[in-house]
């Protein structure tokens, strides 16, 4: 909300400059978002002038050459293009050297051969009206209701608000009472202690009780219209507003229209309460009815659009049907026009949430709807009526028809709350004396009386929605005097032992294993485009198709929650490859989302979410080197990374060739299931490992790509929290190699199992370190070389010691068709 500072100072004028006012308002809850200056930065070289002569320019039809008395010995010659300039007028003049609001500095200028020593100004050129209002021509000051006879040469800043500071405020949604200048003035009063002028509605010209003649109102939906008030004005003359009013509205960001409309806007800006002026003669039947709309009913609003309503929206109708959408926008049919003479001034309270709904449903927001949706109080209706009545009489020559139509009346009686002094200190950690509490609350329009434990506080009508409990009163005290003085203490932290959970530590360790091996972490979108499941070749019943769909996505390509990290990894890989970075080694650690299977009530969360870690490799794993070949992304490069990570957790894990249909986005011959178990427990599937199916990689314009993904939640369940020490003895290990030729159909893992089983306890480890296929070993066969490591707790082993074990291993290998090499 924009508040011109001079307007604010009319009601509360602390002897502070704008920066100090900004600081006080901001620190007490009315944040100043910006300070604007409307008009000129410096009033220098802007003066009052009197046009002595105005003759047609010899060489230009539309220009006039004027001599203007600017209070100096010599009259200034000024060329002016305004059609309305004439001898005898008192005008606003900018002299050479003046700096206009847009920053241009005025110089003497030759216009069609005539030197112009300045410029006669239009109101919009000083930001007194919005730009685009130039048709009105120059300002003629003597036509305006200015008090004094204006001597030429008088500084213009003494006559017109040509330089106005405007504060732009953030009003929090709980404070609709601050949507008016007077409400802000009250805040400034409480924040600074400067005096607060009485409310501008205190003096209401309306004498009469009872209802004015000539208009009737009926409210059929009091639940949505708690109060409806109306006054009738006759003998209204529609005209432009005086300059001060235009200037004030312009500074506040409102476009002046005509005196009646401007009065409604002025009263709204001052009180916070929107008003609407009807041309009473154009209200068919002289009666307005407030009712719920019919489903499908149509109304043409002021902006010329036809709106289709539903049964929860409220219309105001006259004898010919709906004229406005209540609280949102008026209709063209009964708006004030140049020949309007009778005005019905409507000021009503609408149900905030209902207005919000109507406004959003129709996609139609207005100044009024923005205010009503925050919840205005019925009492504000008569505030606005009082302000408007004074101005209607003063500025439009209007006569008020005595009386006010008032349906609904004031809001509920004032609430009384207890405020315990001890409670204030307990919440703040800082004492505030009861006297000071009383002072603060009094400044904010609360009534207070001493009570047993502190105060009894009566909540003012305009705060009744926001302040309903003791804690709300404590906030009022704290924001005015407390927050700035708070001590910086630390809580007692009873029983607090800050630590990460096992699962959190596993997650960090898994991520660290990746970054330690040279992978970069990405952060992808949780959203995915629904076509992802097709591009990943998932068949109809595949479990990854149990997706969560976003009902109202921002765009169609974000319409579902990702069921796998692979999509965002592939997206990131493509992004980089297409930008000249062919080597991509990345991982992501994040949530994936699936619809719950079966009984949703059995869980406390609405979806199946788990935290996964996925990695993707494409191109070379390391930079190219002057020494030796580098590793390129493939199944085994990915497996090595996975192994590096899983081995760090000291758990039993393995991979198993997977059925191709299990993860159809993987290469059918190079895909594996990753399993792990805790101790002697059942193995659980952690995830997949494989090369991405060439067709899938192609969808993302990638060449050979390897990937894996594991469920970190499951990993945490199988990873031991604590690694228990295992004795390893004091003696050196005995190392031997063995090479065996076997049918290729026997997997390395089977060979490893067999060797370890045959080796028994004394065989510490058996690792395959070489694989050979070729003519020497024959078709369908391959040679595997294993590094065996024997270990005993009892003593140093010799070749003779392990010979029987080695023999067992060899015979076990022979049983599956193996023959020793070398």
């Amino acid at each position: 909300m924009r508040v011109p500072l001079p307007w604010l100072r009319e009601y509360c004028d602390p002897s502070l400059d704008v920066a100090q006012i900004e600081e006080r308002l901001t620190m007490t809850g009315t944040k100043v978002e910006a300070i604007h200056r409307v008009g000129v930065l410096s009033a220098e070289n802007f003066v009052v002038g009197r046009v002595l002569t105005a003759e047609k320019h010899p060489d230009a039809d539309r220009l006039k050459v004027c001599t203007v008395d600017v209070g100096e010995e010599q009259a200034a010659t000024i060329v002016c293009g305004a059609p309305n300039v004439d001898a005898g007028q008192t005008v606003a003049v900018a002299r050479p050297g003046a700096v206009m609001p847009d920053g241009t500095k005025l110089k003497q200028a030759k216009l069609r051969g005539v030197v112009s020593e300045g410029m006669i100004l239009a109101a919009s050129e000083l930001d007194l009206e919005p730009s685009g209002e130039r048709s009105a021509g120059i300002m003629v000051l003597d036509e305006m209701t200015l008090d004094a006879e204006l001597a030429p040469g008088t500084p213009l800043g003494e006559v017109l608000p040509i330089s106005t500071e405007v504060v732009e405020l953030e009003i929090t949604p709980n404070r609709p009472d601050c949507l008016g200048v007077y409400g802000v003035a009250r805040e400034l009063h409480a924040a600074t202690g400067a005096a607060l002028a009485p409310p501008p509605w205190d003096e209401d010209l309306s004498s009469g009780s009872g209802e004015p003649s000539g208009a009737k109102i009926r409210v059929d939906c009091p639940d949505l219209c708690p109060r409806f008030t109306a006054r009738v004005f006759e003998n209204v003359t529609i005209a432009p507003s005086p300059l001060w009013l235009k200037a004030r509205l312009t500074a506040a960001g409102q476009r002046p229209i005509n005196n009646v409309v401007d009065i409604t806007n002025y009263a709204m800006l001052l009180t916070g309460q929107p008003l609407h002026a009807f041309d009473l003669d154009r209200v068919a039947g002289g009666e307005l009815v407030v009712r719920r709309a019919h489903d499908g009913e149509q109304v043409q609003t002021l902006d010329g659009q036809t709106r289709t309503l539903d049964g929860e929206m409220v219309v105001i109708e006259d004898g010919e049907g709906p004229t406005s959408i209540a609280g949102v926008m008026g209709g063209a049919r009964s708006e004030v026009v140049p020949d309007t003479t009778r005005v019905l001034m409507e000021v009503a309270t609408w149900n905030g949430p209902n207005i919000h709904r109507t406004s959003w449903t129709l996609g139609l927001r207005s100044e009024a709807s923005g205010r009503f949706e925050k919840g205005l109080q019925p009492e504000q209706c008569l505030h606005a009526q009082a302000v408007a009545t004074a101005l209607m009489t003063e500025l439009c020559g209007a006569t008020l028809v005595p009386g006010t139509i008032d349906i609904g009346g004031e809001g509920p009686p004032a609430l009384k709350l207890g405020l315990r002094a001890a409670r204030v200190e307990a919440i703040l950690g800082l004492p505030v004396t009861v006297a000071r509490q009383q002072e603060i609350l009094g400044a904010l329009d609360f009534d207070t009386a001493p009570a047993a434990e502190g105060l009894e506080v009566t909540v003012p009508a305009l705060r009744r929605d926001d302040v309903t409990r003791e804690i709300d009163l404590i906030e009022e005290v704290a924001r005015i005097d407390g927050l700035e003085r708070l001590p910086a203490t630390l809580p007692a932290r009873r029983g607090a032992a800050g630590r990460l959970s096992h699962a959190q530590r596993v997650r960090r360790a898994a991520e660290d294993a990746m970054i330690g091996r040279g992978l970069r972490e990405i952060v992808g979108w949780s959203f995915a485009e629904p076509g992802l499941v097709d591009r990943l070749r998932l068949p109809a019943e595949h479990h990854l198709r149990h997706i969560i769909t976003v009902e109202n996505p921002l765009s169609e390509d974000q319409a579902m929650m990702r069921p796998t990290l692979l999509g965002s990894l592939l997206d990131a890989a493509r992004h980089n490859v297409s930008r000249g970075a062919p080597d991509v080694s990345i991982f992501e650690s994040g949530s994936v989302y699936r619809a719950l299977d079966g009984d949703a009530t059995a869980t406390t969360t609405p979806a199946d979410e788990h935290h996964a870690l996925g990695a993707l490799l494409c191109g070379g794993l390391t930079p190219r080197s002057w020494r030796g070949e580098r590793t390129e992304a493939d199944f085994f490069a990915a497996k090595a990374l996975l192994a590096g990570m899983l081995d760090s957790f000291k758990l039993h894990w393995a991979v198993k060739a997977a059925e191709p249909e299990r993860w159809p986005f993987l290469h059918p011959g190079r895909c594996a299931e990753v399993l792990a178990r805790s101790g002697e427990g059942q193995p659980v599937t952690l995830g997949f490992l494989g090369e991405v199916h060439p067709l899938v990689a192609g969808e993302w314009d990638l060449s050979r790509t390897a990937a894996f993904a594991v469920d970190l939640g499951k990993l945490a369940t199988v990873a031991p929290e604590v690694s228990a020490f295992k004795p390893f003895g004091a003696f050196p290990d005995l190392r031997q190699d063995i090479a065996v030729v076997l049918p290729e159909s026997i997997s390395a893992q089977e060979v490893g199992h067999l060797v370890r089983k045959a080796g028994g306890k004394v065989l510490g480890s058996a690792e395959i370190f070489d694989v050979y296929t070729g003519e020497q070993v024959g078709d369908g066969r391959r040679s595997l070389a294993l590094a065996l490591s024997f270990r005993s707790l009892e003593g140093t082993l010799t070749d003779e010691d392990v010979a029987p074990v080695r023999e067992q291993i060899v015979s076990a290998l022979k049983e599956i068709g193996g023959e020793l090499r070398g």
Partner: protein, 370 residues
């Protein structure tokens, strides 16, 4: 050499001592003339080896007439010791020279890249920031909790005191996946979940991903928050200030200050926004050259988070299954809560100008942080 040592002992025409002297002279000359360690080794074998003459003489001393034994033994021993010493010295000399030569030949271009090259990985700056913040609060005694991103309307709005018509519930603002299920709009739904899971006192931080239907220069529909929550008998706003001051100093430097400004949130009362003094201009609002600080836009303060004392109404939403568990009675417990944006902290701290950089996953961006 002959198999019969006595054929050589003593050689013709020389007394034993003379022969010893001859051998010694000969050997000394040879050792001095040796040009490399291999030659020295060869001379050692020739003159002092198992089958060499001098050692043989020593072994044969016992067979000499007693009156010669002393003289011969002594001379032979002296010769042997002298040669041993000489060989050792000469050997060391030559070995040193040879090593020197070898080291010279071993010279390499130390400026070639290491091999094989070790790729450098790193956390995304958002994860690194999240961990940094987690660690700060872990140090203060808070534990870290996480919760679902797909959340019920109950926890996301109802239990946080949002009125049934609160604008944030609108489908224009919040993503829905079902009538009563949303993508959580903040980490705050974990407030009630955390209290339902643990009796007071409770000190937790809750990092996580959140979603709002916003997309412009300063908003993305997904972003990250860290919720903080402390509920105990006597948690004050001063405690909130102290906790966040500790945090601000840890993240932005020891000289930082914080200030609390009144604000409004449905689930805290009193509510505040928290500013930290600008670390770029040290809170002055202008820089050394007098120009306005671009980071805080001349304010001297940077808004970093929203917070407040927990609204007493929120406690009433804590459902406890165990009737005997100490519940959350607003007359007996009070606490504070805050929610801060991880993106904002990361962008401030690292000078990242554009939110979209955080989601592009461009390696040229990712490589700048670790």
């Amino acid at each position: 050499m002959s198999d019969d040592p006595f054929k050589m002992f003593p050689p013709a025409g020389l007394s034993v001592p003379q022969r010893i002297e001859q051998l010694r002279t000969e050997a000394e000359a040879a050792i001095t003339g040796a040009s490399d360690t291999a030659a020295v080794e060869e001379l050692r074998v020739r003159y002092l080896g198992r089958k060499a003459e001098l050692p043989q003489m020593l072994r044969e001393v016992a067979t000499l007439p007693p009156e010669e034994r002393g003289v011969v033994g002594k001379a032979a021993n002296q010769a042997r010791q002298a040669l041993e010493a000489m060989i050792a010295t000469r050997g060391e000399q030559l070995a040193g020279a040879e090593l020197q030569a070898q080291l010279g030949e071993d010279r390499i271009d130390v400026t070639l890249p290491g091999a094989p090259p070790q790729p450098v990985g790193g956390l995304h700056v958002l994860s690194a920031t999240r961990r940094e913040l987690e660690d700060i609060f872990l140090g203060l005694g808070f534990t870290v909790m996480e919760g679902p991103e797909i959340e019920t309307v109950h926890y996301n709005f109802d239990a946080l005191n949002h009125s049934p018509t609160h604008p944030a519930r609108a489908r224009t603002d919040t993503f829905y996946v079902a009538e009563d299920t949303v993508l959580r709009t903040h980490t705050s739904p974990m407030q009630v979940r955390a209290m339902e899971a643990h009796p007071p006192p409770l000190y937790v931080v809750i990092p996580g991903r959140v979603y709002r239907r916003d997309l412009d220069a300063t908003h993305t529909p997904q972003f990250h928050q860290i919720e903080g929550l402390a509920v105990d008998e006597d948690i004050t706003l001063g405690d909130l200030k102290g906790t966040l001051l500790h945090f601000a100093k840890a993240v932005f430097g020891d000289d930082r200050e914080v200030r609390l400004r009144p604000h409004f949130f449905p689930f805290t009362e009193p509510s505040v926004e928290v500013d930290v003094s600008c670390f770029h201009c040290s809170g002055k609002g202008y820089l050394g050259d007098g120009s306005r600080c671009y980071l805080c836009k001349g304010e001297g303060w940077l808004e970093i988070l929203g917070a407040g004392e927990m609204d007493p109404n929120v406690y009433s939403y804590v459902a406890t299954t165990d009737a005997n568990a100490p519940g959350y009675d607003p007359e007996k417990v009070q606490g504070f809560a805050w929610g801060l944006g991880v993106e904002r902290i990361a962008m401030l701290k690292h000078g990242i100008p554009d939110l979209r950089l955080l989601l592009d996953n461009d390696l040229r961006f990712l490589g700048q942080f670790s």
